[in-house]
Amino acid sequence: MDSPRPAPASDFLVNKKRVRVLGLSFDDAVKIFFGGNAFVSVLVLALITYFLFQEGFGFFGQNHRNLLTYRQAGLEYVDYIRTQESAHTALTRYLSDLRLRQFSHATLEKKLTPAAANESLVAFDNFAALYGDSVEPLRGLVSELTEQATAIKTKFLVAEDKAVERQQLTAEGKIAEAAAVQIETVDFAVEVKALTGTLPAYKELAAEFIKKLDAALLTAPAMPTAELTTRLERFRQLSSDFTATFPATTRSLETWDYTRAVPWYQAFSAFLFGREWLTASFWQDWYGIVPLFMGSLMVSLVALLLAVPMGVGAAIYVNQIASAAEQRFIKPCIEFISAIPSVVLGFFGIAVLGQLLRWLSQQDALAWVPGFPFSERLNILTAGCLLALIAVPTIFTLAEDALQNVPKAFKEASFALGATRLQTIIKIVVPASLSGIISAVLLGLGRVIGETMVVLLCAGNRIAIPDFTAGLAVVTQPVHTMTGIIAQEMGEVVRGSIHYRALFVVGLGLFFLSLAINFLAQKIVNKYRISIG
């Protein structure tokens, strides 16, 4: 290049002077810009992951200590007896239900006035009262023990707090103040004696309890119909099942030992399989993800059940059947749904949809629908309907893409063999795009599981595992969700507390769930590309 070139024809070989800023050409700058963007996204993802893990993993240690305290302070011991009390309460609810049925039989079938109907149920009421009241001594014991166990726990927690305080002061070099902190040592061996000492009293009480129950059962009056008689029989069975558990409970109480170690895995299993999410309770906090997970799952399932036929159906219609004018109208409409802020949808759910669904459920003409009528305005169904609306644009757009990618040649070949349009769609177009459609559905699911505002506003926020024994009516129950709980509780928790960390672990679970769904969708799409060739 340095020798002067006489031939102008080879000018293009000469490296023209380009504008350079800080020694960078324009090409370099473009490269750095795009590369930088990519790098920042990767970095942000890494940071988020790190943060989630860092905040979340402390949870399991804390949860282990939480469970240990539960045992050492004797709460576990008390809960053995408390379980009996709640089982008995469940039985009395069965009796109330039985009374209601008799009452309606009396008023509707026998045409008695309410007063007369109540009159006719006096014998039953006496029986129910006898049965219900027999728990009183046990209840007294439980509340007494509860108080004691709570006291032990509080004492222990206070002592721990003090220890922490002292440690901090020492670290700050304030030796004198540190020495001044009073730490009351808690000797569980002594404290727990107060609880275990009641065992003989409990045994007597339990024996008495069983006797009373059996005696009460003898006073049960005859039922007016065969159906009700079988219900009473069922109740007798349940009652005897209940009393049959007593020896096992006694054994648990006898063998209970506060020094038994809590295995490490329980910190995890209590979270993953725990059926209770109970926080800021006076007694014992439980961080079990199952009710939240089930809530998210049920809401998402309902949403998918509605959104898949709608989204895929609309995609098939628009892509395969609709005229160009219809396409131009329908496509933007569906895509516009995704522009609605989810909080607006949630508001709509509370103000309109929930109300409407409940009103519908209370119409006599619709009484045959399972779960109808229901009284909770905000429930799985309401949230699911709105989430479906959120999933439809995702599913529609991606499924439409998948259908669009089916080579026209397949369709032509099918038509040329004498297939109708419907046959071509069902036998050729949909199967050829099936993996694309499935991944569209999966991505719709990912969208739905991560959605927060709508479920927070419309799912009813009751932390409980849905009662599947209700059959299809399960969708009319309120639930709480993984996303909802984070949004709701994150603002109120103390930073670094076990509750705070538990919420992070729930977030981590969501993160992995979405990751898995996206990964699966990607896998399926890739496979589909290869199969079309």
Binding site: A324, F410, E412, A413, S414, A416, L417, K427, S531, G533
Partner: protein, 275 residues
């Protein structure tokens, strides 16, 4: 049942093709047809009679309307919005196939098609061939098995694929795929097979195989083939039609078109001076 109206919706079931007609009888009568894509006219006053159990070749420069005319014969153009036959009639066995009473589905069963680019379905070889039959509600296993073997033998493909019938049709070579498409078309026993440049994507050896196949198929089917390959038209066809700018310029015995064309344009095209 009127045997003369095989495509009308009223004729349920498969009325047997009239085999009594002598070879050389007119099967398809294209009668002064004008065809439009929206506002643009693609075919001008086409007048052409296609004989039964003969191979008729359509030749002409690109864009002259060969494919358009071919696709008129099984009404594949119906799938494109805004197309219409503005004038004239196309009759198959004397029935106007654009008559409203005609059942297009039945028509397409009788007039099969093989496309330029092989397009087997992303299904197994077996399912590709039985697709048309299943559409007609035939699901008897041994019946289908027999048709698969017969069609694959008919398409000279049986020996190559008989051990892999249940593998994907997309796993075959290009030439095999095209013969699979031919087998798929003949499986439903059409009377006419339309082929739109069936060899243009194939290598010479695969092309020879398909040409040999056409020679065998001509004994059973009426074949209309579009081709850009003069030798192919000369080798395979009995009659040749030369199109230019949407008009039929010359239609005669293949030998006559190539040896002794009546029209100067035809002469120029077949001798390779333009096109």
């Amino acid at each position: 049942m009127d045997i003369k109206t095989p495509f009308t919706a009223s004729s349920s079931g498969r009325s047997s093709p009239v085999s009594a007609a002598p070879v050389g009888a007119i099967l398809i009568d294209i009668d002064h047809v004008d065809f439009y894509y929206g506002a643009s006219q693609a075919l001008h006053d086409i007048n052409l009679k296609i004989e039964e159990k003969k191979v008729t070749a359509f030749i002409g420069p690109s864009g002259c309307g060969k494919s358009t005319l071919l696709r008129c014969l099984n009404r594949m153009n119906d799938l494109i919005d805004g197309t219409r036959v503005a004038k004239g009639q196309i009759k198959i066995r004397g029935i106007d196939i654009y008559d409203p009473s005609v059942d297009v589905i039945e028509l397409r069963k009788r007039v099969g098609m093989v496309f330029q680019k092989s397009n087997p379905f992303p299904k197994s070889i077996y399912e590709n061939i039985t697709y048309g039959l299943r559409l007609q509600g035939r699901s008897n296993k041994s019946d289908l098995d027999a048709v698969v073997e017969k069609s694959l033998r008919g398409a000279a493909l049986w020996d190559e694929v008989k051990d892999r019938l249940h593998t994907s049709g997309l796993g075959l070579s290009g030439g095999q795929q095209q013969r699979l498409c031919i087998a798929r078309a003949i499986a439903v026993e059409p009377e006419v097979i339309l082929m739109d440049e069936p060899c243009s994507a194939l290598d010479p050896i695969a092309t020879v195989k398909v040409e040999e196949l056409i020679q065998e198929l001509r004994t059973k089917f009426t074949i209309v083939i579009v081709t850009h390959n003069m030798q192919q038209a000369a080798r395979c066809s009995d009659k040749t039609a030369f199109f230019y700018m949407g008009k039929l310029i010359e239609f005669a015995d293949t030998r006559a078109i190539f040896m002794n064309p009546a029209n100067a344009q035809t002469e120029a095209y077949v001798s390779g001076r333009f096109g």
